[in-house]
């Protein structure tokens, strides 16, 4: 069951492992500076309408839906 999901398809409160971010360079680098990059675990704290919010290293970061759809993650069990 090592299926990849898009971040926007993940339910709230799930903890996932970031696998790939296929966004523009600038966005990728900004995310990396905030600690969001391949191999890092994040928890989704909000995902309904509008930007998604994820918890990373004890902080909350809002990510636009467009960008979130370009982040592929792996479910953690």
């Amino acid at each position: 069951m090592n299926q990849l999901f898009r971040l926007i398809d993940v339910d709230v409160n799930k903890i996932v492992l970031v696998k790939e971010i296929s966004a523009g360079h600038k966005a990728q680098r900004f995310l990396a500076d905030l600690g969001i990059h391949e191999g890092e675990k994040i928890r989704i704290t909000k995902n309904d309408v509008g930007p998604i919010i994820v918890e990373i290293k004890g902080t909350r970061v809002a990510v636009g839906r467009g960008l979130a759809s370009k982040i592929s993650v792996l479910m953690e069990e």
């Binding site: 990728q28 995310l31 500076d33 990059h37 675990k41 990510v63 636009g64």
Partner: protein
């Protein structure tokens, strides 16, 4: 600047919201000075304290997440660190988010040895059950680490003593642990370093740091180096490496730093629990709820505007009464001592009226920005940007643009300055140019005054809301319009840190209010005062003539040949609008001077304007021109005369068109 022979330069650096300003304020108290970084529209905050007769100069560097060259803030920061060579760069970290906030320390330690780390918010960490061992951090990072808290006054003394000792004794070691990357990357760093060294360094930056930045693809570093020598073969190698590994080296380097940090933090902190629903998460279930967020936002902002309006009214009335009494006393005294009529008029109608115009707007501005500070310090302001992101997105804008609009309702100068947080150039310029559409406190005064004269309270309130709504519509529609003229660039998607909710602190609120209201009082104050003098001059020359035969009178009558048929604005209505160009506060005082002939101003105005004329006037003054202080702000923020000219003429043209349409329709209907 100071008469202390010994001066130490200390820089404060940190992520947003780590309590950097709080510590800075505690250390420097009122010994602060806010300016701009040369050539940049970024605030430069400096302050100082004196210890043992030595002068410690503190610089509050802009809050930033990293030291790459993605934003002006980051460029300014690293330039400062290398070129001004501060004695010490203090990284402020947040004990509750250590990994994230130490990332900047890792980057800074590549740039300079003189780094100290203040782990702030230790009180919160303790409350959350975290135990932090600063000695362990110190050992692994190789630089001094201090556990502090901005809510605990002993921290200030400890910090001062630390700074003194760090400079004067060998008590502390500054051997930043060198960040080691993967073998492949290390080999690249060595090869680039060698090439840079072979050619002799052309900058103050450390070679290893330059090499790392070249690998990261840092444009500003590469530009500097390329100006000196040919680096093509270096880039070819980097490209090959990046391709073979399918990596973005920039991301790769950040990743390495974070994984090193993860180990360091894990071994120095006990009690950290990831991935648990925090109190803020629970509150956000409601505040950011997909159904409730909008009604709550509207309610909060409605209460915010109502308080601003109603709390300031009695204060303003009090000041108004005081000033008219004072002005009456002065006038009588001047008449008694037989001062020439022109001097009496200058002092009473020019100078005192000018000071009054400034004073009258201070309470409303202070209350407005105090309430904003409460929202900001509690964490709601950042969330309102988040909530509005969806709405703003429909107009091609991001949620942060909403905040500059909110600020603009107080004073457009503050609104224009608040556009600095907007990342996309097109959005920023569009929001700078259109901020003056939004009625500031001065125009709120005009709107409240005139709607009160002509309409029942409920109709007045409705009209007021319509005017506000229309001004917001113009800002948003203009953004769509401007979008057509800009190259479609790939906008940076929304990435926004959402802070934890905090209990607002009086000290912060006081400070935030003071800085913003201070902008109005200092900058706008001068303009308003000078404008009042100017108005007096225009409406008094030739001295003793009736209003219609003064310079202002002739000007107004000339212009009214066009505006009367088109917009319904006769010469007596045109003059206040002309005087309102430099400062909107002048509109009411000019109305006062022109309509005070025989009886109450309210009655006279009510008798001389038709309803369509009144609405036309209200609509016109709402958006027609930015005040001079705003124009100056547009020029400073855009650094372009062309955009400043657009900032003046665009609102004027839009206003003439929209008001003409509305007036012509009203004339037919009413």
């Amino acid at each position: 600047m100071n008469d202390h022979s010994i001066e130490h330069k200390i820089a404060f650096l940190g992520n947003p919201n780590v309590g950097k300003s709080s510590l800075f304020n505690l250390l420097t108290h009122s010994h602060q000075h806010v300016g701009n970084w040369p050539g940049k529209t970024i605030e430069k905050k400096e302050g100082h304290f004196i210890l043992s007769d030595e002068f410690f100069s503190l610089i509050d560097l802009p809050g930033t997440y990293s030291l790459s060259a993605r934003s002006d803030e980051e460029i300014v920061t690293r330039k400062f660190i290398t070129e001004e060579e501060p004695n010490l760069v203090c990284i402020i970290a947040d004990a509750t988010r250590l990994e994230r906030t130490l990332f900047l320390a890792m980057q800074t330690m590549e740039l300079t040895k003189n780094v100290a780390i203040f782990v702030n918010m230790s009180d919160l960490a303790e409350k959350n059950g975290l135990t932090i061992h600063p000695k362990d951090l110190e050992k692994q990072l190789g630089v001094p680490v201090l556990l502090v808290s901005a809510v605990d006054d002993t921290s200030v003394l400890r910090i001062k003593k630390f700074l003194y000792d760090a400079i004067h004794t060998d008590k502390y070691e500054f051997n930043p642990a060198m960040m080691m990357y993967s073998t492949k990357i290390e080999l690249m760093i060595q090869s680039i370093s060698r090439q840079i060294e072979d050619r002799g360094s052309c900058t103050e930056y450390p070679t290893r740091w330059l090499a790392v930045k070249v690998l990261e693809g840092d444009e500003s570093v590469i530009e500097t180096l390329e100006a000196e020598y040919d680096l093509t073969n270096v880039f070819d190698k980097i490209k090959v490496l990046a391709k073979s590994e399918k990596l973005d080296l920039n991301v790769e380097l950040s990743k390495s730093k974070y994984s090193a940090l993860h180990k360091i933090v894990a071994s120095s902190v006990a009690g950290f629990t990831d991935f648990q629903e925090s109190r803020s998460d629970k509150v956000d279930k409601i505040i950011l709820n997909k159904f409730w967020s909008y009604p709550i936002l509207i309610a909060i902002y409605a209460v915010f505007f109502l308080i601003t309006f109603y709390a300031s009214t009695p204060i303003i009335n009090g000041i108004d009464l005081g000033i008219s009494k004072f002005s009456f006393l002065v006038e009588n005294w001047l008449i008694n001592i037989n001062s020439p009529a022109i001097l009496t008029s200058l002092i009473v109608n020019g100078i005192i009226a000018g000071i009054a115009a400034v004073l009258l707007f201070i309470p409303i501005i202070i209350i407005f920005y105090a309430l904003i500070a409460i929202m900001e310090d509690s964490g709601y302001l950042a969330r309102s940007a988040f909530i509005m992101d969806r709405v703003m997105g429909k107009f091609g804008l991001q949620g942060t643009a909403f905040l500059s609009m909110v600020m603009g309702f107080g004073c457009n100068v503050a609104g224009i300055m608040a556009t600095r947080t907007i990342k996309n150039e097109k959005d920023r310029i569009s929001m700078i140019i259109t901020n003056s559409f939004l009625p500031c406190a001065a125009r709120l005064g005009v709107i409240a005054f005139l709607t009160g004269i002509f309409f029942e309270p409920w109709l007045a309130a409705l009209l007021m809301l319509t005017l506000y709504g229309f001004s917001i519509f113009l800002v948003l529609a203009s953004s769509l319009l401007f979008g057509l003229f800009f190259k479609k660039s790939d906008p940076l998607p929304l990435i926004l840190e959402i802070p934890e909710y905090r209990r607002p602190r009086l000290r912060n609120i006081f400070h935030l209010t003071w800085t913003r209201a201070g902008i109005f009082i200092k900058k706008a104050g001068t303009f308003i005062f000078l404008a009042s003098l100017f108005i007096w001059l225009m409406s008094s020359i030739p001295f003793g003539a009736p209003p219609e035969r003064t310079i202002a009178g002739y000007l107004g009558r000339g212009i009214s040949y066009v505006t009367e048929p088109l917009l319904g604005l006769d010469w007596k209505m045109v003059i206040p609008l002309i005087f309102g160009i430099p400062a909107k506060e002048a509109i009411i005082s000019a109305l006062g001077i022109l309509y005070s002939t025989g009886g109450s101003i309210i009655e006279v105005i009510k008798a001389s304007w038709s309803i369509p004329q009144a609405i036309s006037f209200l609509l016109f003054q709402l958006t027609y021109a930015p005040c001079f202080a705003s124009l100056a702000a547009i020029r400073t923020e855009t650094k372009s005369w062309k955009l400043t000219a657009i900032g003046f003429f665009y609102p004027l043209i839009v206003t003439i068109l929209s008001t003409t349409v509305v007036f012509q329709i009203l004339k037919l209907v009413i």
